[in-house]
Symmetry: C2
């Protein structure tokens, strides 16, 4: 999320900031325009030892075959160390791009390795795309709520996010259509739709197959680009895989993929499959921003995917995440105050929880942190100030024991808040 150091404020937002405010004339307009956010404090709290964290959208890595991966890591450097450590191609190594095309095939995407650009995580791909495509003042539609880091990319290029409401089948096409009309009527440029169609972050819902077509057609007829962000598509608890939006809309869709949720975020490997017409522009921008993606990281991912055992590991992870999810919702059902509701995601990393109106999750997160639990307040996922009685719970990384203990803390703090509110009425 975009966090601005207020130039007039004395508070040091980061360890290295020694309370010296920046001179306003040194900062670009896009920096001065950045919204301050409180959420970074929450993520810093999540790093404290002993803290139970529902905050980080981080995968559980304990089931990875590190002995095998470590042996690969050694072998690759002994066999081809100079390649691993030298500058590489700005679009990524060919063997990884071939694997990426195989992966995308699972979601109905037909693409060749020469159409794919590997990036430092899909975050960098989003960043490059926004740089190439977004002007200050443009409107980007995004589900409400949506991924804070994705929205931060667009707003860092001074785009305005307009949220499209969701229901159990994902974003509502009629609402998108209505909002496109409103934006146009306001004289603004509607540039594109940023959507996470599978196990949406943070909503947890899937965009239905029927709506994928509707949304695609709507974007086409209104000349909107589709930014399809899909880090979770293969992580359905039961292995069900939805077809991507991209097929049929190849000319207007930028598809973003990532190995961060399935394998290893620390390697920072993701990719973008853009329309052919945008490929050259994106590649140039990616090269300007970082020359090329790290070669060795790509080789490690590629080696992992060379062994068909990665599919069994994926099945194992789905089961682990399903069990954690079940533990979370079972505990929540026992401990949360009346009037708290949540949906039932069938995969992904997140549970989206709504608490009774009047309970402010942004204020209460500090009470929870004091008791050893951290989550992300709902306000982080909207750019319009919504979300005060909502929160996101990431359930993949904490242990079953932590999940139960953490949920119990949440239940206690929120129940006390409800009781406090009632007694002060």
């Amino acid at each position: 999320m975009s966090v601005s150091v207020e130039t007039s404020a004395g508070a040091a937002p980061t360890p290295g900031d020694t309370s010296v405010p920046a001179r306003r004339q040194h900062l670009a307009q896009r920096t001065l325009a950045a919204r301050p956010s409180e959420v970074r404090k929450v993520f810093r709290a999540a790093q404290r030892p002993g803290m139970i964290s529902f905050a980080n959208g981080a995968p559980y890595l304990g089931a990875l075959p590190f002995e095998r991966i470590a042996a690969d890591a050694q072998r690759i450097l002994l066999e081809s160390g100079e390649r691993s450590f030298q500058y590489g191609s700005s679009d990524g190594i060919p063997e990884l791009r071939a694997h990426i095309c195989e992966l995308m095939k699972l979601e109905g995407i037909t693409a060749g390795p020469d159409q794919v650009i590997v990036t430092s995580g899909s975050q960098q791909a989003l960043d490059v795309a926004a740089r190439v495509l977004v002007n200050p003042g443009d409107v980007i539609f995004a589900e409400g709520p949506s991924y804070a880091g994705g929205m931060a990319v667009f707003t860092s290029y001074e785009a305005e996010i307009v949220h499209v409401p969701m229901d159990a089948d994902g974003l509502i096409p009629e609402e998108l259509e209505r909002l496109i009309g409103e934006v146009r009527a306001d004289g603004k440029t509607a540039r594109g739709l940023y959507t996470i169609p599978n196990f949406q972050n943070p909503g947890g819902v899937n965009l239905s197959a029927e709506r994928r077509l509707q949304v695609g057609e709507l974007c086409r007829s209104n000349d909107l680009l589709i930014f399809e962000d899909n880090p979770y598509g293969l992580l359905g608890f039961d292995g069900e895989t939805m077809p991507a939006i991209q097929p049929g809309f190849e000319d207007i869709t930028l598809y973003f993929g990532s190995f961060s949720k399935m394998i290893a975020p620390g390697l920072r490997v993701g990719w973008v499959l853009p329309p052919a017409s945008l490929y050259g522009h994106l590649l140039n921008a990616s090269e300007t921003s970082q020359l090329n993606p790290a070669v060795y990281s790509q080789q490690l991912i590629s080696a992992y995917l060379d062994d068909p055992a990665w599919r069994d590991k994926l099945v194992e992870y789905r089961a682990i995440y399903r069990e954690k999810f079940n533990a979370l919702v079972e505990t929540l059902a026992e401990v949360m105050p009346a009037g708290t509701i949540w949906n039932r995601p069938t995969g992904g990393f997140y549970l989206w929880v709504k608490v009774p109106a009047g309970i402010d999750t942004e204020a209460l997160v500090y009470d929870c942190i004091e008791r050893g639990l951290v989550y992300v307040p709902g306000t982080a996922f909207y750019t319009d100030g919504s979300g005060h009685n909502e929160l996101r719970m990431s359930f993949c990384l904490p242990s079953l024991d932590e999940i139960r203990k953490g949920a119990a803390i949440l239940g206690k703090v929120f129940s006390d808040a409800v009781a406090g509110a009632a007694s002060s009425d």
Copy 2:
């Protein structure tokens, strides 16, 4: 360098571009404003098998202790695989930041690990800095010639590069002062100075100690930021190390460092030490652009630096590069046409060559490529169309044999061109 696919052109600039032009209304203004460049073709030629390349500013990696590094790579994953593969801190891992501070101390910089932000190579650091600090239309001063990739970062945010002439002691302060006045008189905003003070890319010169102070004072009194880019500082042939500009100008200098030239570009690890007042802004922007630098890459660099043997390796590299440099200039002296001149860098990666006026290095590079040699034409290093009778030769990666053969090809092609020009007079 910034390369634009001309929307009206049919030529496919990249493998994935299937000659489908982008619709202009889809592209951001900063994309439409990008200058087309021919140089990318040259770098693609450099990747052909059998090509002798003086084009890539790439280090020689053959002397790296890959057995030891591979053992480290394995050990790290066995000991702390979950840390290596998990999301990391957006400012980088603490042990690497501590090493970075030790390195910077060698150049007279006093800084603590909490002031440093690790990035995906210094390229990403430059990119983040430009994003935070540069508005469209701002002027950035840069040596003429200067690093194409650095200038591309600034121009991608629609800055204008104004070149400051150099002599044997680096950029000329009086010229900088004069140009600041001109820019101001034109009503433009002079935002900062981008400089590579050590073994400048591509000029090969060092900014003298006296001028470092003059330049710092000039920037301070004119409210310019200093973007001090220093990938080569420790790579003097004889190990001489110049003090950085940053000490004494900590409040206006962003110092950029890199492990790409000293250890391994393929790991993509660099850093920025910004003024305290800008730290928070840069960290936020870096997080937006890629969440965090790759953890495992940082651990590998850190492990390499844990063993004091890295200093002996540096000494070894200096000797290797000196020998290659000597072979290059000795051969050039034998083969180049009369009127060709070059300077004598005392370190770094580059020799800057001026050929007789009328000989166009941008045209002749294709003749050289046909004969199996590639270099970078001088035009890549200016934004004002200069450089047609100049070229950059990177001498660190090719073998001694390739250097001699490559220089001979260059001498033949250029001598033929001179003879052709004379005979057609």
